[in-house]
């Protein structure tokens, strides 16, 4: 791996982002348009990737589905970072105190619940929705970022420039946000990219089992679930949403790997 994987990664991610944003303004067909007469068509000039069992245009649905996936995963990563990073910084500033202990034990507790189980519990209570998928994936992300930022901050707290800040009279809070946070931001960007890709996979899995975005909002996971019953009649329906997921996740992983090597030259070893 080298930093060069940023280029294919960025191209893939940029394409998907463009499709997602573009779907806000234009899609080849309206995804709410049912056209039963033209159902389950294969690729043609009119419908680039064919139509589904309701005659909806697959390409348009994939564009809108990209929006759903990206929105869910992005907000979930935002929750994970927004809660996890301050917790981690706080724990590191009070290292080995009871607050640190409490935060880290809380982390261990959340780690005992795979994202899917959190989603199942939330769904059992509030019913399935895209919002609940966001919350489930977001909760799952919190300990990841808390652990990462605590670990990285702990080693920074022994450095001279932090000592200088302490001598200058800055409190733990200001040091954490003015000196520690900027120094761990590279790590956070890289981990954020990786969690983003895991979030896309989790969202796809949740909406596949019906715990994510609900009809009529198109999502890649549910498109796959719907295609399963028609798998002998129209195998192409099961193909495109899966490829969309793979492209997105692959792009984010390549981007994350590349960014890590680019931002942290110490890791740029011959591997």
């Amino acid at each position: 791996m080298s930093w060069r994987s940023i280029i294919p990664g960025a191209i893939l991610v940029f394409t998907v982002m463009l499709a997602a944003l573009g779907s806000l303004f234009w899609t080849p067909y309206d995804v709410a348009d049912l056209d039963i007469r033209n159902k389950m068509q294969t690729s043609s000039i009119e419908h680039w990737l064919g139509t589904d069992h309701f005659g909806r245009d697959i390409f348009s649905m994939l564009m809108v589905g990209a929006r759903t996936s990206i929105a869910v995963a992005l907000v979930a990563v935002g929750i994970g970072m927004g809660v996890g990073v301050p917790l981690g910084l706080f724990a590191a500033a009070r290292a080995h105190g009871w607050i640190d202990e409490l935060i880290m034990r809380g982390n261990d507790l959340v780690f005992a619940f795979p994202a899917l189980l959190i989603a199942i519990m939330i769904t059992a209570v509030f019913g399935p929705s895209a919002l609940n998928a966001i919350i489930a994936i977001g909760i799952f992300n919190i300990p990841v970022f808390a652990r990462l930022s605590r670990g990285a901050a702990l080693s920074l707290w022994t450095r001279e420039f932090i000592l200088a800040a302490k001598v200058a009279g800055k409190g733990a809070f200001r040091i954490s946000f003015e000196h520690v946070l900027p120094n761990i931001s590279n790590l956070l960007i890289v981990q954020g990219t990786i969690q983003f890709s895991l979030g896309i996979l989790a969202e796809a899995g949740l909406s596949y089992v019906g715990l994510g975005a609900q009809p009529p909002v198109p999502s890649w996971g549910r498109m796959l679930a719907e295609s399963q019953t028609l798998i002998t009649l129209a195998p192409h329906l099961a193909l495109y949403p899966g490829l969309a997921i793979v492209f997105t996740v692959l792009g984010l992983n390549l981007l994350g790997d590349g960014l890590r090597d680019w931002l942290d030259p110490r890791l740029r070893r011959e591997r």
């Binding site: 791996m1 080995h96 880290m104 034990r105 261990d108 507790l109 780690f111 005992a112 619940f113 795979p114 994202a115 899917l116 189980l117 199942i120 519990m121 769904t123 059992a124 209570v125 890709s197 996979l201 796809a204 899995g205 596949y208 089992v209 019906g210 796959l224 295609s227 399963q228 798998i231 002998t232 195998p235 099961a238 949403p241 899966g242 997921i245 793979v246 996740v249 692959l250 992983n253 390549l254 011959e270 591997r271």
Partner: protein, 316 residues
Amino acid sequence: MLRFVLTRLMSLLATLVVASCIVFFVIEVVPGDPASFMLGINAQPDTLAALRAELGLDVPKWQRYLHWTGGMLSGDFGTSYTYRTPVANMIADRLWISLPLALFALALSTLIALPVGLWAASRRGSYADSVVMGFTQLGVAIPNFWFALLLVMLFAIKLGWFSAGGFAGWDAGAFAAMKSLMLPAIALALPQAAILTRVMRSSLLDVMNEDYIRTARAKGLSVRQVLLKHALRNALIPVLTIIGLQFSFLIAGAIIIENVFFLPGLGRLIFQSIAQRDLIVVESVVMLLVFAVVIITFLVDVAYAWVDPRLRQANR
């Protein structure tokens, strides 16, 4: 070592207690009680009260929590609201599909990943290495349920080697049962195998940078001998940790994969129970899975500390 195990055991118990509180009280927040759901909107108040008493819903929440956890400790998971059968029996039946599936997938991913990782590490930087690493990138990016669909399309529909879903049952013989678990296990194993291959490879490469490897090379051993005799055993430690952690991912992943193949395992049970508002089953299955994850993490920690004494001192 004993002290380390005891400390870990205490924190394991604490985790389980807090987790059971969370599971119970989060799910019990649900508006509407199971009794009125079962009897419908036209239920008479006295029938409702009788059913609530029968299901044990008429006592305060904290008493029901104690009854639930106390029961689980003695193997009594309560009675399903929908089927009126003991939850423990329902879970036991399903466990005989989910657990073998997860173990099958774990075995597959380990059997694929270790040799491939070793092979890639021994040819670091070569064309073969890049191809393997490219495949692992792809393996990590493929959602396992989509891979499962592709397997069904190829091996079940096109070639007809396997059935597209369902479970033959252990009564039909071990071979038939394993055959119906084959495609699900492959689908489940693929992403884990990709991750494990990468871990195996990078762990080996890390070890190969150690001084004792240079010493072994200096005394005249070939790269191959060093790799197999000295590097492999040391590199396996982090790999074993990941294998342990993957087991909990596999259990969770099995929930989704079971839906692709219509396997009547724990995953199907949990989704049915949600749809039928059979909350006691949902609670018990979730708690069982959390229990499995926590126990495995504990065992991995202990095994790790047993192999590497330095870790017995460290906090984390």
